[in-house]
């Protein structure tokens, strides 16, 4: 009840922090996707690049998230850019890995038919490999997005705002209601992100007839 009252009384602030949160996650996932998919496509054909790229993304993922934000502060300072870089680095692994796996998992017979038909590399990628790998790639983006919504609560620790602001505020005030005012909307966002990407996956699956 306390929580509902608190949220109602601070409705405006909850909304603006939620939007800030979404912005952090959205930009970070956008960047991770823009880097992860092309890198994953390139890595799927080059074992050496694949080893390096996946190794790098793996290491990023093993750094505790709070520490990752902290490490970046000397380089990029306090504020949203630091948070976005950290989130994007974090989100890179599932997108990169799923792109590699998805592309590598396309039926060899289909690839051979495509080559035999006289498709260029580019045509094979856009017409055959990416559409057939799309389900796996999207699953990676989905995992990255859902994780990022949670991890982004730490962004408040580097002054980037978002729903973490409530959480850190509540921690210093030793006030559970304030903590929950950040945690509950963040959890709801994570669930919505999961549902949203699930819906997109199903729609694309139906459109391509692959899932």
């Amino acid at each position: 009840m306390d929580l509902v009252n608190y949220l109602l009384r601070n409705g405006h602030r909850v909304l603006s922090l939620t939007l800030e949160h979404l912005e952090l996650v959205g930009v970070a996932i956008g960047a991770a996707t823009a880097i992860g998919i092309p890198l994953g496509v390139a890595a799927a054909r080059r074992p050496a690049l694949k080893r390096w790229a996946l190794g790098f993304a793996n290491v990023m993922q093993t750094v505790p998230s709070l520490a990752l934000f902290g490490f970046l502060i000397p380089a990029t300072g306090i504020g949203a850019p630091t948070a976005i870089i950290a989130l994007a680095l974090y989100a890179l692994l599932p997108i990169l890995r799923n792109t590699c796996v998805g592309i590598a998992g396309v039926d060899r017979a289909v690839i051979e038919a495509a080559r035999g038909m006289g498709m260029t590399r580019r045509q094979m990628l856009w017409e055959v490999e990416l559409p057939l790998a799309m389900g796996v790639i999207l699953a990676g983006v989905r995992v990255a997005a859902v994780t990022s919504v949670g991890v982004a609560t730490i962004a408040a620790a580097v002054g980037a705002g978002g729903l973490g602001t409530f959480i850190f505020q509540g921690l210093t005030m030793v006030n559970n209601t304030v903590i929950l005012a950040g945690a509950v909307p963040a959890a709801i966002l994570a669930i919505l992100a999961d549902l949203g990407f699930g819906w997109i996956e199903r729609r694309l699956g139906a459109a391509f007839g692959t899932l």
Binding site: D107, A109, V110, E112, A113, A114, R115, G116, M117, G118, M119, T120, Q123, E127, V128, P131, L132, F208, G209, T210
Partner: protein, 255 residues
């Protein structure tokens, strides 16, 4: 039309899959490449459309070494049918059949027209299957779609790798019969891979036997069955044993 001159192929690791292949395939011929698994039939076929480059000798298509051809241009002049799974699972049958004309930049109307013709040619009812996806079709229908796709851009040469291998015997016989009349009426040069001697006899005007990467013999279908070459006799005997109800000399010739 297609000529192998002492052509060979070895894997990067050094294992030799084909060596010293000499074979001339004339315009309008239907040549069956036959042999056991691992004898190099499929490798030989892939040397024609440059899915593989020869590591020795020369493979010539229409008088030009395949290495001098732009691989993309070469492949678009060669229809290619592979066993069962070669259709694009995310494309409708219509889109699958029209894929090479589309790559070649034909206008949409002409593609649509051509796809219709092709589907009728191979006995697929367009109204029923055009907008379906491959997994919604029967094995026989998929194979017909594969042939329609290979023929769509009207290539002078058709390469087929075990085209009817994944079908049940009745459907296979039906498709073989239809394919035979199709092959005669279209006048294409056809090279197909099979391990089924009966299929080779039914469809091939000439049969080439491969054994461990070497071309043992290439004879007209009738001569092949009556050849005295011990390696051919041996192959026929082995095939006859494994196919119930048939023993050499074969009772059935080309229909």
């Amino acid at each position: 039309m297609i000529e192998f001159r002492r052509a060979g192929f070895s894997l990067p690791g050094g294992r030799t899959l084909l060596s010293e292949i000499n074979l001339r395939i004339e315009r309008g011929e239907t040549v069956a490449l036959i042999g056991r698994s691992g004898s190099g039939k499929t490798t030989l076929l892939k040397l024609i459309n440059r899915l593989l480059d020869p590591t020795a000798g020369d493979v010539r298509v229409e008088g030009r070494s395949t290495l001098d051809w732009d691989p993309i241009a070469l492949r678009r002049r060669l229809g290619y049918v592979i066993q069962e799974t070669g259709l694009f699972p995310h494309f409708t049958i219509e889109r699958n059949v029209g894929v090479v004309p589309r790559l070649e930049g034909w206008p949409a109307e002409r593609i649509q027209q051509r796809v219709l013709e092709m589907m009728q040619l191979v006995g697929l009812p367009p109204g029923e299957v055009a907008s379906r996806r491959p997994h919604e079709l029967s094995g026989g229908q998929r194979q017909r779609a594969g042939v329609a796709r290979a023929l769509a851009a009207d290539p002078p040469i058709l390469l087929m790798d075990e085209p009817f291998g994944a079908l049940d015997p009745i459907t296979r016989a039906e498709l073989q019969r239809e394919f035979r009349s199709l092959a005669t009426s279209l006048g294409k040069t056809i090279v197909f891979v099979t391990h089924d001697i009966r299929e080779a006899v039914r469809l091939g005007s000439r049969i080439a036997l491969l054994e461990e990467g070497r071309l043992v013999a290439a004879h007209a279908a009738r001569d092949f069955m009556n050849a005295s070459d011990p390696r051919i006799r041996q192959f026929l005997a082995a095939a006859g044993d494994s196919v119930p109800g048939t023993s050499p000399p074969f009772p059935e010739g080309p229909e």
